[in-house]
C-alpha cells in the first residue's frame, strides 16, 4: 500500500497562512492504515491547527472531513458543497488523492498535508518499510521475492556490492543488505544458481512516465 507521513504542523501552517476557511480532508484507505491521514489524524490536525491559530490570534475557520478514497472521482462528489465553502483544502491523501481533488476542484487550492513516502508494508505496529518502486518491470521471480531495485540502497541489479557487511548495508548499517537477503532466500529455495545470472543494463523505458494502463 501507499505509505505517507504527515508534514510538520509548522509547514502546514505556512501553506494555509493566506486562507481564511480551510477544510482538512482525510482519506479512508492507505493513509488511514499508516496513521498519516485517516479520520482520526484529520481530527487531530484540525484541532491542532485551530489551537495554533488561536494562540496567534488568527480568526480562521478550520473544519475536517474524511472520504473513503480521495483517488476515486465518485467518492469526491459528496465534497462539492463542502469545498465551495472554503478557500483551500489540506488533503491528507497521497499525491494521487491531492491531484484527483485538484482536478475536480480546479479553482480551489488543494494543499498536500502529507508527504507520500513510498510503497510498502508494516513490519510491526507503527513501522513501515518500502518494498516496491513501481518500476514496471518486475523481476521478483528471479530474486527470491525480494526487490533489489527498492531494497538495495544502491538499486543494484547485479549485487551484492563490495559494501555488504555481515548482512548490513555500508550506506546505512541499520538496513539489511538486500542482496544478502536474496542470497539467503535463494539458498532456501535451492536456486542459488540464479545468483550467477547477469542482468544487462536495465531498460528504464519499460514504463514511460507518466505511466498509463488500459485494461484489455
Amino acid at each position: 500500500m501507499i505509505v505517507g507521513k504527515q508534514k510538520p504542523l509548522s509547514e502546514i501552517r505556512e501553506m494555509i497562512a493566506e486562507y481564511q476557511k480551510v477544510l482538512i480532508l482525510g482519506c479512508g484507505t492507505c493513509v488511514t492504515i499508516c496513521f498519516a491521514g485517516g479520520e482520526r489524524e484529520a481530527a487531530i490536525l484540525a484541532s491542532s491547527l485551530r489551537m495554533a491559530d488561536k494562540i496567534d490570534g488568527k480568526e480562521r475557520v478550520i473544519t475536517e472531513y474524511t472520504v473513503k478514497r480521495q483517488c476515486e472521482r465518485e467518492f469526491l462528489e459528496e465534497l462539492d458543497e463542502k469545498v465551495k465553502e472554503v478557500d483551500a483544502v489540506v488533503s491528507l491523501a497521497c499525491g494521487i488523492g491531492v491531484q484527483a481533488l485538484a482536478e475536480r476542484f480546479p479553482t480551489t487550492p488543494i494543499l498536500p498535508g502529507l508527504n507520500t513516502s513510498f510503497l510498502g508494508f508494516p513490519d510491526e505496529h507503527g513501522v513501515w518499510s518500502e518494498t516496491c518502486s513501481a518500476c514496471g518491470n518486475c523481476i521478483l521471480d528471479q530474486t527470491g521475492g525480494i526487490c533489489p531495485i527498492t531494497r538495495c540502497t544502491k538499486g543494484l541489479l547485479n549485487g551484492p556490492c563490495g559494501g555488504t557487511n555481515n548482512g548490513k548495508c555500508e550506506v546505512d548499517p541499520e538496513k539489511d543488505c538486500a542482496w544478502t537477503l536474496i542470497y539467503q532466500r535463494l539458498e532456501k529455495q535451492g536456486k542459488l544458481d540464479l545468483m550467477r545470472q547477469y542482468y544487462p543494463p536495465r531498460n528504464f523505458q519499460a514504463v514511460v512516465r507518466p505511466g498509463k494502463i488500459r485494461m484489455e
Binding site: P8, L9, S10, G28, T29, T32, I33, F35, G38, E39, R40, E41, A43, I44, A46, S47, S48, R50, M51, A52, K54, I55, G57, V61, I62, T63, E64, Y65, E124, H125
Partner: protein, 556 residues
Amino acid sequence: MKRSSKKSTLSPTVAQTIPFVSQRNVEPPCQAACPAGVRVRDYIALIAQGRYQDADSLIRDKMPFSSACGRICYQPCEAECNRALVDEPVAIMYLKRFVSDYAYQTKLPLPNPVAKTRAERIAIVGAGPSGLTAAQDLAKLAYTVTVFEASPFPGGTLRAALPLYRLPKKLLDWDIENILALGIKLNTNTALGRGFSLKELREEGYSAILIATGADRSRKLSQPEIGVFAIGDSSFGPMWTVHAVAAGHQGAVSVDNYVQGKSTMPAKANHALVAKREKGDLEEKVFQGYIKPKPRAAMPLWGPLESIHDLVEMELGYSEEVALQEAQRCLGCGAAEILEAKCTACLTCVRLCPYQVPAITPLNTVEIRVERCQACGVCVGECPARAIAFTMPGIEDLIPQIEAALEAKPVSKTKPTIIGLYCSYWAKAGPELIKERFPSIRMIPLLCIAKVDTLHLLKAFEVGAHGVFLVGCEEGDCSYQKGVFWAKHRVESTKKLLAEIGLGRERLEIYNLPASGLEQLAGLATEFTQRIKQLTPSPLKNRRQSNDRRKTKATV
C-alpha cells in the same frame, strides 16, 4: 432524560447533553434480558464512575418505577449476568435501589416538563405501572397526556399490594412525582364506567385511549374499538411489575403509531447480538489474573430484634462505598463494536488488543469478539479510522463531559482551569469526596484512563482547559492489561503535539499512583496547579471567543 437545571452538589453532570447514542448491534445480556429494556450495563458503568444522577436518568427512562423495581424485581438481568461465570452476578437490583435511594435522599431535581409540541391528546385509563409508563413515554414524545385513576392514589398494585417493609410509600410517591413532572395530568377518583365512558373521552377529543386498568379482579373488556388500546394485566392477566412497565412502553408505541397513521403492530424486535461471554475464556482470564474474583456485596439487613418494632424496610440498602465497589465488578460486556462502514481492515485493533479479542473473519473483515471483550477501550483510541464504537458511558460521552466541566463557573479568578481525568477503579471514592478534596479542579471519572484518547486531550485544551492531568493506577494494579502503558503512550504523543501547537508539553501530566492515593494526588495537584499558574495566561485566551466549537462538534 432532561433534568431541570438546578445544580446538585455533584461534579458537573451531563445528563442534559448526552444522547447515549449507541449502535446497539451488540447488546449486553443483562439488558437483553430486561423486559423493560433498561440499559443495565450502562447505568452500572455510570454508578461505577460515581455518576449517580446520570444513572438515575438512564434508569428512569425505561424503568420509571425505579425505587420499586430496585426492591421487588425478579432480576432476569442478574440471571444472565456474565459475572456469574467468574464468581457471582453483579447485584444489579440492589445497585438500582442505591441510585433511586440516592436520588430521593439528595433530592435530585425532578425532570422538566416536556413542551407539548404535538396537537393530539391521549387519555390513559389506570395509573399503575403500565399506565404511567405509557404516560411517561407519550409525554416525552410531546403529546398532551391525561391519566384517569379510579382510586384516590396512583401506583396501582405497587401501592395496594406491597407491604411497607418492602416498599416505603414515600419512594413510590417519588417515582410517580418523577413521571408526572414531565407535564402529565392525573385525575384520581375517576373510574371508567362510573364518571365517564370511552365514548365520552372520544367525544372530548382524545385521539387515542389506552386502557391500563390492571386486573385486581376478573373482568372482561368490551369489544375493542379503533383508537382504544388495552395493555397490562387488563389484557394479559397478572404479571410482574417489570413486564407491566414493558407493556406500558409497548402501548405507547402502538398509540404513537396509531396517531401518526402507521401500523399499530409493534415493530419487529431488533435482533441484536447478545454479548454472552465464554466460560472457558473467562476462566482463563481469571487464571491469568486479568480478572480478579471478588464476591458480590451482601445486602445489610435489620436484625429481627430491631425490625419487629416497626414496619420499616428489612433491607437497608448499600452504602456509597459498597455500591461503587459492587458496580465496579461489572465486566462491561459487549461495549466495543466495529462500525463496518468505516473499518478499513487496517488490523490495528487486531494487533494491539491486550486480550486478542478482535479477529479477522473468514470474509477478511475484522470483528470484535463480544464473547471475549473486556471493555478496556485500548482499541478505540488507536483506531485510525475511528471505526470502533464504544457504547458504554465513559468514552462515548467524554467530550460532552469535558465541555460541561469547562462550562461550569470558574472556581476562582486567580486559579487556572484544570481538568483532572481520574480512574474510578483507582480512586475508590464517590463524587462528593472527590469534589471536597479537589475543589478547584474539574475532576472527571473514567473506568481506566487508557480510555482517554489524544483527541479527548486536545479537545480539552481546545475548549479552554489551561492544564490537564490524568491519574490512575500503578503498573500491576490496573484493572486491565496494558492500561498504564497506553495511557502513558497517549500522554507522551499528545505532549509532542502540544509542543508543536505552541501550548507547551508542561500543560499535560499523568500520575500513576497507589490505589486510593487521593492524599498523594492532593500534593501533586497543588504542584501541577502552581506549574500551570506560572504558565498562565493560557495562550488560548478566553474560550468564549472561540466560534468554531459548534462547527467541530458534528465531526467529533
